[in-house]
């Protein structure tokens, strides 16, 4: 069992690749600070996000293996541990058992921050299903009376990372995370997913756009460089702080 650290990021992802595109910067940033983030993939995205492999005539097990290998490689580059629950995608079906698996991971990892999908995504039903289970498991893990190993959890903040169609998914950026120091690592992780070259460009452009937006909202004195790169998030709970900024 991994040792608990004060800073521990937990990423709950519906499919094997989601965490790279949408939260790779946040993950690399934390691991560069000495933490060891944990990524949980509820499925391999074997049916819903592996069109290329199916078009090449692969079988289900092959597809899963391809996606698993890719995700492990990318997680390695980002400096994260990765686990696969193999729950089956398209559709990802919510269940008490799967939520229980997540509760156990919460209790084990004791995350200081949780990242997951948005609760709305009209183009992909698995993403909201993952988000609902991530939020439900977090509540359960806080209850002393819930029957799972480990201590009752505190109440870690939860963020939704950016969906592929932000406006259609009611995603209004609430947090712009400066990922500039970790950006090269994110790019390397994205490019390790060799089959999805068209995604590289999209997410590199997005990082730049969110970087411009970050600078535009950064206030008077920050002097941020022109090549600032950012990821956008939405908060699910109030931000606890001792300084307004």
């Amino acid at each position: 069992m991994p040792e608990k650290t004060p800073s521990s990021l937990l990423v709950i992802s519906a499919h094997a690749g989601d965490f790279v595109w949408r939260a790779g910067g946040a993950i690399a940033l934390e691991s560069a600070r000495g933490a060891r983030p944990t990524v949980v993939c509820l499925t391999y995205g074997e049916r819903g996000e592996s069109a290329k492999a199916w078009r090449e005539g692969r079988q289900l097990d092959e597809v899963k293996k391809i996606r698993r290998d890719e995700a492990e490689r990318a997680a390695g580059i980002l400096g994260a541990d990765i686990r696969f629950l193999d729950a089956g995608d398209y559709p990802l079906v919510e269940s008490v058992e799967l939520i229980d698996d997540l509760v156990r991971i919460y209790r084990e990892v004791c995350p200081s921050v949780v990242l997951t999908h948005t609760l709305t995504d009209p183009y992909n039903g698995d993403h909201p299903a993952a988000a609902r289970m991530a939020l439900q498991a977090r509540i359960l893990a806080q209850a002393v009376g819930y029957d799972a190993p480990g201590e009752a959890l505190g109440a870690p903040p939860v963020f939704s990372f950016e969906p592929h169609q932000p406006e259609m998914s009611e995603f209004r950026p609430e947090v712009l995370l400066d990922i500039t120091p970790a950006y090269d690592t994110k790019v390397a992780a994205m490019r390790s997913l060799a089959a999805q070259q068209h995604m590289w460009t999209y997410y590199e452009d997005l990082a730049q756009r969110r970087g411009v937006q970050l600078r535009r909202n950064a206030g008077p004195n920050l002097g941020l460089p022109h090549d600032t790169r950012a990821e956008a998030f939405v908060r699910h709970f109030p931000h606890v702080t001792d300084r307004l900024s």
Copy 2:
């Protein structure tokens, strides 16, 4: 003209007392850190928030003076500069001139953080009017071409402080500020407003409730004391940060 400091809080308040009840902790916290916050009262609250004085038969000028003295005393305790624009309340009428006054203050103070009212308050039309002008002036102050002294402003974050009827004013706390170290100062400032004793209790209870809520959202490892006190805020622009928390 006050010297610009890297951290400079600007509070734009419709009436003379609002800043004490709703943002006194945030102000005291900043001044305890060595900054000199600026409070701008658009009006004295002479008609809308001075029922006691009118019932005692005071004239308009007297009422204004009472409110001004009180507000100056409270600002002094909180460690803030205070200015009065005497724009007339109930109703506070939006005007190009008043917005221009605010632009000039923005350019002069160059705030790193701005606090103001909510955009919705069905019980008080002056509060949203103040918030609209505060937001409009911030935009204008950022334009190089706007004809006012000083440099074009950066884009400071803006927060709405908590209205008296949060649920009815669509106020969902997004930021819980730990004001515990400054809480005694806030209490002293509130109690210097001798005529409004019933408000003391309300806002002391609120600080406690928001403190409990802060602890409940603070995540696993914080170990916050039981007497934690907090103020709640809503953000108007994305939070720029280099660390999710």
Copy 3:
């Protein structure tokens, strides 16, 4: 000055005819109970709601007179006092002076209930303008320090009556008022507006539809008759009651 009564309905209407179609049942119901409702028409609707008269080649003063006479006749049938502020329509422009007129009426009438337009109406800008002024004046009239004759007002409940395009105006019926006992009076008032025959049918159908909806939401035991007629309203403030129903 009319004598204050415990039950006193105040209707604030943008144009001369609005109160008949949209709140005629509520008004007739109150007057049948012995109260004397007050209707305030901010304008005659001389430009925006008098197409027929203009097409007949009338002059402005004639149009106003036609609308005034009609409105007085309808108010008489409904048992209400009526006043005209002649503020000019299309557009109805919000002003401090007009709001002040309303404050004075609030202080004089001391309404137990206020009816006005919705805050949203994409097909008519005068309606939301009237609603905003009605709400603003109500706040001002409550302030002891507001310089107008009479006592500071209590906080009467405010309802928006149904706009012509409910779905497009974000109108979700929150209150269904059974106007069956007063329905014949409302019909008589509507039919006294001889020039607008096409409106009769529309609002008679609407009263029936809202009546069906009322019966469908009336719970298990009410035994309401099939010819129930209703008007729909939206509340602006919490409903104060000593019994849930």
Copy 4:
């Protein structure tokens, strides 16, 4: 089988204690008027809301018994019948069977008013689950063709009682119920839950706050006493009435 009465309140509660804190005043008010309210607890709250018992090392059955005894005692004080469906909490899982149980209760009790949780509660997934089932069962119970004993139900109004974190649960008070005459009974019921002393204060303060808010929204003539106590509710369906107030 209890006899149907014209006024019959049905409270559908996720856990054993919820109805006391959140609707105890409404229940006591009805029983003081001679009605016999029915409380249905879907679970005992054995896992999610019994931290103290688990920390003391109790077993599951013991925890359930503790919560059941407490809830029966409190219901007795409030003058209500109580039933336990023992569906298992944390998570409370929606099922056709559990909804069917509720349909049968609806058909038996024939409620004139229904109280339940809110549909949103980011801090507790069981509460929205209970609310969804309460609303679904109400629809089914209205269908002649639904296979359960008793007559097809009318359409009783449904109210959500106040969640623990109103702003975070999108709870905007729509109804403020004056519980002053029943307040002592509610306090007695709360205090019978000896293990949860910290809740007493919170809900006594809340009753006072909602009482102040009630008086502030009560209009001009009501003359309500300073010790007015209230509970807040949200409506799910239009309010059917023959008088605006």
Copy 5:
């Protein structure tokens, strides 16, 4: 297996009669243009929408047969194919199996347009359940890796047709479809449902009201006739077009 046509309308309906009242015009319009729409009834509406048959003492199988016969007759008049999945209503329970049935139909029919219920309907839980499944199945049918016969689907636009209580179901008309040329056919289909005479009037009035609204929103030059009839819809995805109108 029906041949795929470039224009192919798919209607996914919770109960046997819904498609006639709410989308009969759209269906008849398409079939008049030479297409062959497909209607899928997830259930017969045997429990929830067959009160009359139950009151007459019919058995479950009889009720189903009555509803099936009626629906087939109406579909015939409208020129549509119809299928029944007999999933059981009140409640209609979402399941992976039922969604899979829909995926297979999507792959077979390859619809150019999809019509279904709204996602909100506080008076009928089966309607949103049908809409959720229709939307979920559409996503799954687009995935190459989903295990069902046929090609991966494109992304057909989806519309919600008008619920019985539009304002309570958050239904704001976004598309007004001119059904005038097909209106007589719709009326004939409605009148073939002999047992539900009260519905005829309601939906004939609605077609007229939506027709008036269509003319009121049709812009300057259209010269639409006074007997224009319309149906209202809401879009789920952006409208793709090469001309703004």
Copy 6:
């Protein structure tokens, strides 16, 4: 006075450049079809959107002239007439007079389609002010009794074009307009604005992103090319059509 044509596009823009970036494709598309669109610039954007000129030390009149020349050149490329109301920007102040100017233009141009800004834009107050006036003037122009030359207007559809920060401005694309045939013209118009090179890239990328989104929402049979370019819009009124697509 320009001749009225059946298809006539009216673009109401706060500042001189807005129409190029945000609606240049829609304009060029219409003019390529033989129509002559009309662009109205309420201001030159002389203060708020001319930072470069001010930094170079230009005077107000020079800045206006620069912006006017640029806008005329771009309008020429797009094939549109252009007018300047010179109302003064930052802030653009709403007035009865300016709205009256717009009414007269509506009556003269008799637009079949209107394009303007969004009603929300937290980064620029002039944009919503322009949109509010465009919508208000459209209502007034429809009234026979409004005192301005020309016939009462029909009810042209209104679209908001895409703001610079779509997610922050509550902009959810409802219409994706295929501008591919006119895209080269739009690019030429953008590049004629020589001083704003950084905008070229942003809006070329955006046209591509919206093009991808258009293809992703275009349904099964369209076979759109990979270099599809699009502009996104939001509708203010229901879409009137005789075919769902």
